[in-house]
């Protein structure tokens, strides 16, 4: 059990992948902008440096709450990682774990809002409010989009959804719109560039994380990176059938390729698009994406699958 928690698929595995994913992401964005980009150890150096810095907090905040928030966020992301099959290998699974993973992945957004609200500062509070508004806009389409493959394969178990698709057809070929919605929701969840409204650097400096420094900031960053990895794996497992083929090696290669493809698409989106305004996002979310995701579920039901 401790091996599962600490090494695979727990902390050690996800930590290494998070560092790697951050490097690939920063490097890709730099290449798209015509720059060279950081060396491969850069995320690790940033993390260790932040661990060694002084821990400052504004006067009047609840210090225990401020210390607990990043840790709970990290714990939620790591726990979600325990239920995600990696390259066809499923360590833990039970019926309904998709719901649990979706809940655990949405927890950091709420904690992000709480961090902004409890650190007394105008930028943090503004960022926290924006985080909550963004949460309502992307979370509903994301949930509905990920319930598409679940209904299609009549199971709420991620491993079952994955295995079922390897014998029938990948969900992305049946539900391309659903994948787009899930991808968009993932960008919003990770607060990446077109949807980095809660931490918009040129408007509200660093949003809810403005008052965090040192160790706490390092853990916030780590939690966000692990959320990136887990989110990408979740999309690969639900929409691409986890890349499962007969041979073990081929599965591993296909899974890595698909995960890398989604990561690079995230970088392309960050490099290509400017930030949306919060009202634009709310309008897009409630007027376009949610009706689309409802239509998608109606489409699955009409096809005679599920229920």
């Amino acid at each position: 059990m401790s091996f599962k928690v600490l090494v695979f698929p727990g902390f050690g595995f996800l930590f290494c992948l998070a560092m790697l994913a951050e490097w690939i992401d920063r490097r890709m964005i730099a290449r798209f902008q015509g720059r060279v980009g950081p060396p491969v150890f850069q995320p690790l150096a940033d993390f260790i440096k932040l661990l060694g810095k002084e821990d400052l907090l504004p006067t009047g905040v609840n210090e225990k709450l401020m210390a607990a928030l990043p840790l709970i966020s990290l714990a939620a992301c790591l726990t979600a990682g325990m239920y995600i099959p990696v390259a066809g290998v499923s360590v833990n699974n039970f019926e309904g774990d998709l719901i649990v993973v979706l809940f655990l992945l949405s927890l950091p957004s709420l904690l992000y809002f709480l961090a902004g609200w409890s650190s007394i500062g105008i930028y943090s509070i503004l960022g926290g409010n924006r985080a909550l508004l963004q949460f309502f806009s992307y979370e509903v389409p994301f949930l509905l989009a990920l319930s598409g493959p679940a209904i299609l394969n009549s199971s709420w178990n991620i491993t079952d959804i994955m295995v079922n698709q390897s014998t029938s057809i990948w969900a992305i070929f049946v539900l391309p719109v659903g994948f787009m919605l899930a991808f968009f929701g993932l960008i919003g969840k990770l607060k990446r560039d077109p949807l980095d409204i809660p931490k918009a650097q040129s408007e509200i400096v660093a949003g809810p994380l403005t008052e965090f420094s040192g160790r706490k900031l390092a853990i916030w960053h780590l939690a966000n990176q692990i959320q990136t990895v887990v989110g990408i794996f979740l999309l690969v497992d639900t929409y691409f059938g986890g890349g499962v083929i007969e041979s073990r090696l081929a599965t591993f290669l296909l899974f890595s390729f698909l995960a890398l493809l989604i990561l690079v698409s995230l970088s392309v989106m960050s490099a290509m698009y400017a930030r949306l305004r919060i009202d634009q996002l709310a309008r897009l979310g409630w007027k376009r994406l949610i009706p689309l995701s409802l239509l998608q579920i109606a489409f699955i039901v009409w096809m005679g699958k599920g229920f």
Binding site: R35, P38, Q42, A45, I48, G52, D55, S213, L217
Partner: protein, 144 residues
């Protein structure tokens, strides 16, 4: 033994990852534009691990340009105290080093070192980006 190893790891990390907070304490904006050049494709300091941050609490280096005016004195002090230890101060431009052409003015206190301790002076009016990069690398060697 272990403590020296940990110290070595932290020193390595500090040298490889510098987050810079840029503040104009009353200059003419010339040095600021030269500093922003560092982030462009031509110079790209991200390959050295240097990144611009917009919050004092996230930064390692306070990079000041321009002389300190009476108005900005308190702000420089406040920003300096908000940066968590270990921290360094870099001054870019002749005005920030000594007061430059504004020396003796009623509204200017002089160089940045009149208000906060400075680790590195980079003179020039304005400095070229190459000199700023070289100065920052000199600072990296100083870091313990």
């Amino acid at each position: 033994m272990t403590s020296t190893l940990i110290q070595k790891v932290f020193r390595w990390a500090r040298r490889k990852s510098l987050w810079v907070l840029h503040y104009n304490s009353g200059g003419c904006n010339g040095c600021d534009i030269e500093f922003l050049d560092l982030l462009t494709p031509r110079y790209d300091v991200e390959r050295l691990g240097i990144r611009q941050e917009s919050v004092p609490r996230h930064a390692d280096i306070l990079l000041c340009t321009g002389p300190v005016t009476r108005q900005s004195r308190d702000r420089v002090l406040q920003i300096f105290t908000q940066i968590p230890e270990p921290k360094w101060v870099v001054v870019v431009g002749s005005c920030g080093c000594s007061g430059g052409v504004f020396q003796g003015s009623d509204y200017v206190l002089g160089g940045v070192d009149q208000v906060i301790p400075v680790d590195l002076y980079i003179p020039g009016c304005p400095c070229r980006p190459e000199i700023i990069i070289e100065g920052l690398i000199k600072l990296l060697e100083k870091i313990e």
